[in-house]
């Protein structure tokens, strides 16, 4: 956390809790017991889309599967699967106003 400085006790507690979000696996298991771990991402709230529907397909989902493309930009574990929107491909989604209708307009990106 470099751009926010925790000042009071509660802020320090929040900072400690969120700092533990990413753990390097080669570092071995955490030696101290961690507090409740709440990942921020699609598992944080019930955000249907990437699951399958009751029949094992995707037709019956309450939100279109294509919506995931946008749900995963920021917080989830997909950065390797979507183009780098900040540096190389800021306009990648430029033609896609509505994921449900326009997802075919999203093109492949070759860095």
């Amino acid at each position: 956390m470099r751009h926010l400085t925790p000042i009071n006790k509660k802020a320090r507690h929040i900072a400690e809790t969120t700092e533990q979000d990413v753990v390097a696996l080669q570092g071995g298991p955490l030696t101290t017991p961690s507090g409740p771990h709440i990942p921020l991402g699609c598992t944080f709230v019930f955000s249907p889309g990437w699951e399958t529907d009751a029949s094992g397909g995707t037709a019956g989902l309450c939100q279109p599967v294509e919506r995931d493309l946008f749900d995963c930009h920021i917080t989830c574990f997909w950065p390797a699967h979507v183009p780098d929107l900040y540096n190389y491909a800021p306009d990648w989604t430029g033609k896609c106003a509505s994921a449900q209708k326009d997802w075919r307009k999203i093109d492949l990106i070759f860095p």
């Binding site: 956390m1 470099r2 751009h3 926010l4 400085t5 925790p6 000042i7 009071n8 006790k9 509660k10 802020a11 507690h13 929040i14 900072a15 969120t18 979000d21 921020l40 944080f44 709230v45 955000s47 946008f70 749900d71 930009h73 920021i74 917080t75 929107l85 900040y86 540096n87 800021p90 989604t93 994921a99």
Partner: protein, 473 residues
């Protein structure tokens, strides 16, 4: 499409730097240029992350912006628009909260006849004539037993004597405290004692007892002679200043082991906070002075109206500034309203309830009925048990559910709710006839006062963090 939006927080500046007070977590964070710019950019509209980053990329490195957005999302200063915000749900405490403070109303009688008194004045809620005027020794002992029985694992309990005028029942005070100390030794607990008095009856013998027993004292007093004698009068209309003055001098001179505080009731006619403070702190020598506006329905002559709240705020702010200068210089300042709020900010308290009434604090009436707090003691409609029968858990839970901040719709969009939580139940009862109502008449005042205290806090955190270390315990 995922849009970013500002989360719930209050932004403030302290000592030239930008800060946020997060709601409802009550975390205080200092922003750097990048995080301040990100929040600023989202002030007018929600933005897609790539749009946001592009807009600021001429001022900050892209990697920094991305890291900042992540930080801000983590602490919830930002949120994703399509993620629902969890609605708070009222729930009783998961564990039983031990009783740590018992306020014993040892008498409902008073030798003064202060016009604004909530116990006797026009807004009284307790019909005192239906209850014994004095608590007897047996009920006092039973109250002490009740206190220890309800204190659970807590190693320390606070016993506070209150009235009426507490010292009218000195005999019972003495025996109750002696009994409490004896029980504490048997049970391996510590008992801390304090009392509130109008100081008219303080005499040598009583002061000796106070000193000997290390009793904390709060004196209800409104300022200098003219201020005190406006409302704090005897029933024949005579002012009480000249009676209390020598007593207070004697108390302050002899009771050196514990700080003695003054508690001032502000009214429309008595709003000169600074001169009251000067008199009580500088001239008389009280260790600290706390101010509270009179609790009353709005139409009373002494009720503080809107312009009065405005004037009061200005004076509070000036005294708060003085407090800050003293604290920066490592000196004690006695304006306790600031100190209390600083402590709550430092700990990051985010309250479900405005105070401990009905939870860790209860009040006992002269007949042994237990109520939410001393202000409701004796009111049948706010009774939650008795010292002999214990706490009625059903009633207590009912009370807690009804008064939870999640049920105060008006508070749900207010950034000051982690500290205010709707304000005093008794004030709400007097003003609106319902203790569960939030005190909407002073919302704006509370927000501005909280903002002032946050600024003091931020400045101290930056320039004299060791001052704040005293609240770490």
């Amino acid at each position: 499409m995922t849009l970013l939006r500002r989360g719930e927080y209050h932004a403030f500046d302290a000592d030239g730097a930008p800060y946020v007070y997060l709601v409802p977590s009550a975390g205080v964070f200092r922003l750097d240029d990048t995080s301040a710019a990100v929040l600023d950019a989202l002030g007018e509209q929600d933005l897609e992350p790539s749009e946001l980053v592009r807009g600021l990329s001429d001022r900050f490195p892209v990697a920094d912006l991305r890291a900042t957005v992540e930080d801000l999302l983590n602490v919830r200063a930002l949120r994703l628009v399509d993620r629902p915000v969890e609605a708070p749900v009222a729930s009783p405490p998961r564990k039983r909260i031990p009783l740590t403070t018992l306020v014993m109303n040892v008498t409902s009688k008073c030798n003064l006849a202060c016009t604004y008194c909530y116990e006797y004045g026009e807004d009284k809620i307790v019909e005192a004539s239906r209850k014994p005027r004095f608590m007897n020794e047996e009920t006092a002992r039973q109250s002490v037993d009740f206190m220890f029985a309800e204190s659970g694992e807590s190693p320390m309990v606070h016993l506070t004597f209150f009235g009426g005028e507490t010292l009218l029942n000195f005999k019972v005070l003495k025996s109750a405290l002696a009994y409490a100390k004896e029980r504490a030794v048997t049970l391996g607990k510590t008992v801390d004692t304090s009392l509130t008095t109008n100081a008219t009856l303080l005499r040598e013998e009583i002061i000796d007892w106070i000193v000997e027993n290390d009793v904390g004292v709060t004196v209800s007093m409104d300022g200098g002679r003219e201020q005190q004698d406006k409302f704090r009068i005897f029933s024949n209309g005579m002012g009480s200043y000249d009676v209390v003055l020598p007593n207070i001098r004697m108390l302050l001179e002899r009771h050196r082991r514990r700080p003695v505080g003054a508690r001032v009731t502000l009214t429309k006619q008595n709003l000169d906070v600074e001169s009251i403070y000067r008199h009580l702190r500088d001239e008389l020598g009280f260790w600290e002075v706390g101010f509270a506006p009179v609790t009353t329905s709005w139409q009373r002559d002494y009720a503080i109206q809107e312009d009065g709240f405005e004037a009061m705020l200005g004076q509070f702010q000036r005294l708060a500034d003085e407090f800050l200068q003293y604290a920066l210089a490592g000196k004690h300042h006695g304006f306790s309203n600031v100190r209390d709020t600083l402590e709550e900010i430092h700990k990051g308290m985010s309250k479900a309830y405005p105070c401990g009434a009905g939870l860790g604090l209860m009040g006992v009436a002269t007949d042994g009925d237990v109520a939410l707090c001393h202000r409701f003691a004796g009111s049948d409609s706010h009774k939650i048990g008795s010292v002999t029968g214990g706490v009625d858990r059903g009633k207590q839970e009912d009370f807690l559910m009804k008064h939870h901040i999640a049920n105060k719709t008006d508070c749900s969009t207010c950034w000051a709710r982690p500290l205010c939580a709707g304000g005093c139940y008794h004030e709400a009862h007097t003003r609106y006839g319902a203790s569960e109502r939030p005190n909407l008449h002073y919302c704006e005042w509370i927000r501005r006062w909280t903002d002032t205290c946050l600024q003091v806090y931020g400045t101290l955190a930056e320039r004299r963090p060791e001052y704040l270390a005293q609240f770490d315990g």
